[in-house]
């Protein structure tokens, strides 16, 4: 079933009356099934080494990021845009160089605690020095885009708790939610 078919169904259902929960659920499932399937991914813009490094890094930034195909998302955009490609090839090369200088191993080959030590430096603006600046800038990009990839995936949307994008016959707000917020507000 294509997206167009799904939309036609929504339109047909809507024309027949308010969209039923059944139809909404159907849309939800069809949409979920449309996520990219697994299998071995061949990088489109990055080299295999760069891609493997990025996948490992993104999984550290957001545990579960691979469920959101974060590295694939970034690789695709990098393959379409040289500005984006430069950010990642340059950033990953910087990271490997910095790791080699400190631990005599690139990022992928380093021990977990060595990776953590490096990331704890470049994950914060307060550590900005002339030496670390390129790493901090790169990590900002990787963090932002990994977060985007994960939280726009079915897994991330579910995890953050977005419940919507479905038909509703009547719009209601749970009284429990109102009570909770009012109680915690200055209007309690």
């Amino acid at each position: 079933m294509t997206r167009r078919d799904i939309l036609s169904r929504i339109a047909a259902a809507a024309m027949a009356g308010p969209v039923g929960l059944e139809a909404a659920q159907h849309v939800h499932e069809e949409a979920a099934a449309a996520t990219p399937a697994g299998g071995v991914y061949k990088p489109k813009g990055l080299t295999q080494h760069e891609f493997d490094t990025l996948r490992t890094l993104s999984e550290i930034i957001v545990p579960g990021a691979s469920k959101g195909s974060a590295a694939e998302f970034i690789d695709l955009l990098a393959s379409q845009n040289t500005d984006m490609l430069t950010i990642y090839t340059g950033g990953i090369a910087w990271l490997d160089e910095a790791m080699k200088r400190q631990y005599h191993s690139d990022f992928l080959g380093a021990k977990t605690e060595q990776r953590t030590e490096m990331l704890d430096k470049i994950a914060y603006r307060k550590n900005r020095t002339a030496e670390l600046a390129p790493g901090i800038t790169f990590f900002n990009w990787a963090r932002r885009m990994t977060v985007d990839a994960y939280y726009t995936s079915a897994a991330g949307i579910k995890e953050v708790g977005y419940i919507g994008n479905r038909g509703m016959k009547e719009f209601k707000v749970p009284q429990e939610a109102i009570d909770y917020a009012v109680k915690r507000s200055p209007f309690a």
Binding site: A11, A34, Q80, R143, V147, Y162, G167, V173, V182
Partner: protein, 568 residues
């Protein structure tokens, strides 16, 4: 070379533009049995195919960031990838220019329905005093019509397109024919409590969304995605609500990809045809007409008149007053965001609702003294919106780090933000206008518009007041401001940003001061009418679309009556 081909039929009315004004005139005239030709500069709209309603971000490889992640570099599509418009701030091959020292942004959407396919759908009546600003405070110009003249057409417009709301009896926000507005979301409940405390009215929103089945259109299904276009047409778009139904009468000839170039006049100075570029073949064509209605948008209609030059009207058609292009305005805009700790940890629920807020704040100080002459209304944002690219960029920047703590920060942050946006009246000034740029043509060879724009203290002070009000509201609800414009001079929106451009072909009582009479008919050329926002004398703190529909309806009925009497 352009080839001149003349099509044989003569249409009673040729309407240029299929947005709110053109769609309304088309529907009203077709229902009265008058045959019309509707020219649209863009292609046909196919809602099922074109609208991205209900699409998840993961259903597109770039997740909504655009090819190559364009949005990461500030080159993304205006209002995001999923928005229903077919245009943007810049159109390939169709430039406009801005005078040195001015800033202006012009949003155009080339498609059947124009900007009504994606717009915010806020539908506010102008108040009685909004139409008589000069009589009230000596600033600006009175409209040639009063609230009583337009009220019956507001009734018709609201009844037909469907608008939510409630009877409130507030002078700045006249009541209308309303459908039930859904209840406020949790953050809106808190905002209302803050507003109550500060003495600011906060009332059910007035959106062109139907909450009960209307004219064969089903009630809203509350997915919150009005801006993506609504396939079942539960909100107002001129394409789905007016143009498509009008076409079923058999009275409408829709010509798409037709970019109007010039109005052709005869020796008596009457318009006999519209010259347009058929974009598909890039050839010039002409369509004959007895009357013409300009509804190409405020600035495009202005451009068309100014580009229609000839003997006796060397400065443009219908421009003996010399005011075509003058008195252009946009609304002021200022926004402030906040994080509300009271919302953190709340049970997740579906807060999508209508595509827009369920409450709004009408201007409340209209009878009080302020240090700026005109008011604003407040639009609200917040809730558990569908996550998209950039949704958590703020958390990333603030929290930094990585791993489980970052994920927790994102979880805790989701749905805890609210936003306030002010939309205020701008007073027309002599430094704000548009004219033809003598040096630049678009890819069809049509001379383009050059914009001049200046805010004045009246607007700057109003925006200062917005900032204070929003800060007070946020603090009253225990929130913290998270987004603040860095420079005072950057606080106010750029002219055109709010996409409420009006004026430039004003209606008025004195033909020396205004190109149009009080029925939006050209004083110079009696078979020319204007039915978009160009005839507006001013724009108060109200979104213009509802008034475009109401005035276009009135103009269409007047035109039909004048035709019946043989006057045009």
């Amino acid at each position: 070379m352009f080839q001149i081909t003349r099509s044989a039929p003569v249409y009673d009315v040729v309407i240029i533009g299929s947005g709110a004004g053109g769609g309304t005139v088309t529907k009203v005239l077709a229902d009265l049995g008058i045959s019309v030709a509707l020219l649209e500069a863009g292609p046909m709209l196919h809602p099922e195919k074109d609208f991205k309603e209900h699409m998840w971000p993961y259903q597109v490889p770039h997740r909504g960031s655009g090819d190559g992640g364009a949005s990461y570099f500030g080159r993304g599509r205006a209002f995001g990838f999923f928005s229903a418009h077919a245009g943007g701030w810049q159109l390939d091959g169709e430039p406009y220019t801005v005078a040195e020292g001015s800033k202006w942004n012009w949003f155009r959407s080339r498609i059947v329905g124009g900007r009504t396919n994606h717009y915010g759908r806020i539908s506010l009546r102008y108040a009685d005093y909004d139409l008589k600003p000069y009589s009230r405070d000596g600033i600006g110009t009175d409209w040639p019509i009063s609230y009583e003249d337009i009220a019956p057409y507001y009734d018709k417009a609201e009844s037909f397109i469907g608008v939510t709301g409630s009877k409130e009896g507030i002078r700045s926000a006249p009541d209308g024919v309303f459908q039930k507005c859904p209840p406020p979301r949790v953050h809106e409940v808190l905002i209302k409590k803050a507003a109550d405390k500060l003495g600011i009215p906060c009332i059910p929103n007035r959106l062109a969304v139907i909450t009960q089945a209307t004219n064969g259109r089903p009630a809203c299904h509350y997915c919150g995605q009005c801006g993506r276009g609504c396939i079942p047409a539960s909100n107002y778009s001129s394409s789905q609500v007016q143009v498509f139904p009008a076409m079923q009468t058999g009275k409408v000839t829709l010509i798409t990809d037709a970019m109007a170039r010039e109005l052709i006049t005869n020796d008596e100075g009457k318009v006999t045809a519209v010259s347009y570029i058929d974009k598909k073949t890039r050839t010039e064509k002409q369509i004959k007409c007895r009357t013409v209605v300009l509804a190409a948008s405020c600035c495009e209609s202005t451009r068309l008149l100014l580009n229609s030059k000839g003997k006796g009207h060397e400065n443009g058609l219908g421009n003996s007053s010399g005011t075509v292009g003058q008195y252009l305005t946009d609304n002021t805009g200022f926004s402030l965001g906040a994080r509300i700790p009271a919302l953190e940890g709340m049970m997740r629920h579906d807060s999508d609702g209508m595509g827009g807020a369920h409450l709004y704040m009408p201007w409340w100080l209209w009878d009080k003294k302020t240090d700026f002459p005109r008011g604003y209304h407040v639009e609200l944002g917040g809730g558990y919106g569908m996550p998209g690219v950039g949704s958590f960029a703020g958390v990333c920047a603030q929290h930094e780090g990585y791993g489980d703590s970052l994920k927790k920060a994102i979880y805790d942050d989701f749905g805890t933000h609210v936003g306030f946006s002010g939309r205020g009246e701008m007073i027309p000034n002599k430094n704000t206008y548009c004219e033809i740029d003598p040096n630049v043509v678009d890819k069809y060879g049509i001379p383009v518009l050059k914009f001049h724009f200046k805010w004045t203290d009246a607007e700057y002070k109003q925006v200062d007041h917005m900032e204070k009000t929003f800060t007070d509201l946020i603090e009253t609800m225990g929130g913290t401001v998270v987004r603040r414009n860095r420079l005072a001079s950057d606080k106010i929106s750029t002219g055109g940003d709010i996409i409420h451009e009006v004026g430039a072909i004003r209606m008025g009582n004195d033909p020396k001061m205004a190109p149009l009479n009080k029925y939006c008919q050209s004083n110079d050329v009696k078979n020319v009418f204007v039915a978009d926002a160009a005839p507006f004398v001013t724009n108060p703190d109200k979104n213009p679309t509802l008034t475009i529909v109401a005035l276009a309806w009135r103009t269409a009925e007047y035109l039909a009556e004048e035709m019946r009497k043989g006057n045009v």
